[in-house]
């Protein structure tokens, strides 16, 4: 599912290229998760630095596939030259993007990949894809869990909405990362909601009193699961690792209530998205597939991560920086 597709790496059409500053529109996924605000922050800051205008719109909810498509269509009619999109599903924006490609507008795909086959059939040309490899992120969590549970044990996974692709990829990766002594006993869907995750984890703990760890598909839910573990009086005995690296989660890792988070850097993703538009506007050829940085944050490096947030604490490869120099 990862790696992206479409006819990527294309140079924007000559008419659009040149020294002109791009006018950028972005359509991202949701409102009520700080993940996306950090993404927006990255865009806004790069826009300020590069003095390019950016309009950001978001779907009402992380499930609102057609609503997001409607928003894109609303923006498509206007004179933006570059569109940064973070689609809710692999295909929900394809139709709107086809229209844009037909007009030779630049399309930058971030965070969640657009389905390669669908893009191809609709003649959608993607300038680049920038995002987290979710299977890889899950795998890092799995490996960490295996380290923590030296004697092995049973673990469970708490996912987003049942059937969610991103969540599925992370859980799949997590399982790949697990060593032979650690066994997955149950997967529960908790709709990306903290309260639901708390309840689900409480129930799972009842069902499996011997449970040794939880993998949770994002931090917001992860904090709920950590709470459930604490409520059950099993803090420290049941390990919890989640994905995202939002600030509250980093604090929780530092405090020890969360055993780790695989930090993504939506800030960097958003920032690179805008950079990509800038680069395309100057006629540069963009790399087809850019892996966004992912870092495993544990108690040891939590301070460093907190100090740097929302930026990554380590160095990462930004291929666009050189293009827009």
């Amino acid at each position: 599912a990862c790696g992206s597709g479409g006819t990527t790496g294309t140079t924007p059409a000559a008419g659009e290229a040149g020294t002109a500053t791009p006018k950028i529109a972005a359509v991202i996924k949701g409102l009520d998760n700080p993940f996306f605000q950090t993404m927006k922050q990255g865009m806004d800051e790069q826009a300020a630095t590069g003095k390019v205008p950016v309009t950001v719109q978001a779907a009402n909810a992380i499930t609102d596939t057609t609503g997001q498509a409607d928003k894109l269509n609303g923006l498509a009619g206007q004179d933006f030259s570059c569109y940064v999109v973070n689609p809710i599903s692999g295909t929900n924006l394809v139709q709107g993007l086809a229209q844009l490609s037909a007009q030779n507008k630049t399309v930058v795909n971030i965070d969640s990949p657009i389905d390669a086959a669908a893009a191809k059939s609709a003649n959608v040309k993607l300038a680049t894809y920038i995002g987290t490899d979710n299977v890889e992120a899950g795998k890092m969590a799995g490996q960490r869990m295996t380290e923590l549970l030296a004697d092995g044990g049973n673990v469970a996974a708490i996912g987003g909405i049942a059937g969610d692709v991103t969540s599925g990829a992370r859980i799949e990766g997590f399982q790949q990362g697990l060593g032979p002594k650690v066994k997955m006993v149950q997967t529960v869907a908790a709709n990306w909601e903290r309260q639901t995750a708390l309840t689900a984890a409480t129930d799972v703990l009842q069902a499996h009193p011997d449970l040794a760890g939880f993998f949770v598909a994002n931090d917001d839910m992860g904090l709920g699961v950590a709470r459930a573990v604490a409520n059950a009086g099993k803090a420290g005995k049941v390990r919890v690792i989640s994905v995202d690296g939002i600030k509250d989660a980093l604090n929780a890792v530092k405090a020890g209530t969360l055993d780790g988070t695989v930090a993504q850097y939506p800030y960097a993703i958003g920032l690179m998205g805008v950079e990509a538009c800038q680069a395309a506007a100057t006629g540069k050829t963009l790399p087809a597939d850019v892996k966004a940085p992912v870092e495993l944050v544990t108690k040891e490096n939590a301070d460093k991560a907190l100090a740097a947030t929302p930026k990554p604490f380590g160095s990462y490869d930004d291929p666009f920086a050189s293009l827009i120099k």
């Binding site: 596939t65 609303g74 206007q78 295909t91 059939s121 609709a122």
Partner: protein
């Protein structure tokens, strides 16, 4: 003499209607839509550009089809909470059939049929099981999306089909094919509701089930029929959805549920049944779509959009305040 008075009264019909506030209430959605269009156009001239109109009408197509289905159910004082997940189920069944090489036509039939069966079950449970509509369809909301997940194994299926692509992109003038289909559905629904015996019986069932029953109308059969209609239209919506997003996904589509009911109620149809129009809900659907589109065009910040939507929906409904 009696007949003279009578003729005079029927003659005053239209004049009286125009004076009657209740009449305006029925058209409140239209007034709301016009006001909205004027405001948005004044603030951003792209709003009424042919391109934007086309994309608004396309975006409205699915909602219109669902709102029409919902209208039939609501006219009988029911509510179909499962309409959006029946659509999801239809989409997934279509996707699986298509992937299994059933061919486009057969796959379409399968998709519509699946949603129709969900509706039929709703109808039978409300009619024969005597369970409250709300609970039956809430159960179906959950069950249909569960089925969709199971059938699809939780994974979306990409559908690449030239005919479907044409459906979602082709157009006649500023009217996309999907929108034209939605309008055709609405026209047929209008004829059925106001020009057939069945339609009268639907309204009678909603207005007073006991009276309808006493007059020999089988309110059960009517209930089953309206839920089946709602299911079939959810199936049609599924096809338009698959064409639109290019994939059959087990996504929950919850916003379609509330919006379909909102379109109907904004269109002046009472949730207590017995009254209804088709044009009202269609305009209600257009209003909701235009609202989101306009706010996006104006670049209203993402945090302020829900607030704006809420306020405008209430304002539009305030126009119906004279309704008796």
């Amino acid at each position: 003499m009696a007949n003279a008075t009578l003729a005079a009264r029927d003659g005053e019909h239209w004049a009286a209607k125009l004076k009657d506030v209740g009449f305006w209430a029925e058209w409140a959605a239209l007034v709301g839509l016009v006001v909205l269009v004027i405001v948005f156009q004044a603030l951003n001239p792209t709003f009424l550009s042919p391109g934007n109109i086309t994309s608004m009408l396309l975006a409205a197509a699915i909602l219109i089809v669902l709102a029409v289905g919902q209208t039939f159910v609501i006219a009988t004082a029911g509510i179909d909470l499962s309409i959006a997940s029946a659509m999801t189920l239809g989409a997934v069944v279509f996707g699986q059939a298509y992937t299994a090489q059933w061919g486009l036509v057969l796959s379409c039939v399968a998709g519509v049929l699946a949603a129709a069966v969900a509706g039929l079950v709703n109808g039978m449970l409300t009619a024969w099981g005597k369970i409250a509509d709300f609970i039956v369809t809430l159960g179906m909301l959950s069950a249909a999306s569960g089925l969709a997940l199971i059938l699809s194994d939780g994974k979306p299926v990409t559908i690449i089909d030239p005919a479907l692509l044409a459906l979602s992109t082709g157009r006649v003038g500023i009217f996309g094919y999907s929108f034209l289909i939605a309008i055709a559905v609405a026209v047929v629904a209008h004829v059925v509701l106001f020009h057939t015996r069945f339609g009268t019986h639907v309204l009678a069932t909603g207005g007073s089930p006991e009276s309808a029953n006493a007059m020999g109308i089988s309110t059960r059969r009517i209930k089953i029929a309206v839920y089946t209609i709602s299911g079939v239209l959810a199936g049609v919506g599924a096809l338009l959805l698959v064409a639109r997003v290019g994939a059959a996904e087990p996504a929950s589509n919850t916003s379609f549920l509330l919006n379909s009911v909102a379109a109907v109620v904004l269109g002046g149809v009472s949730l207590f049944g017995g009254r209804g129009t088709i044009i009202g809900p269609v305009i209600g659907a257009l209003l909701l779509v235009a609202l989101v589109n306009g706010l996006t065009l104006l670049g209203v910040s993402q945090f302020y959009q829900p607030l704006a939507v809420g306020v405008v929906v209430v304002l539009a409904a305030l126009l119906t305040r004279f309704q008796r």
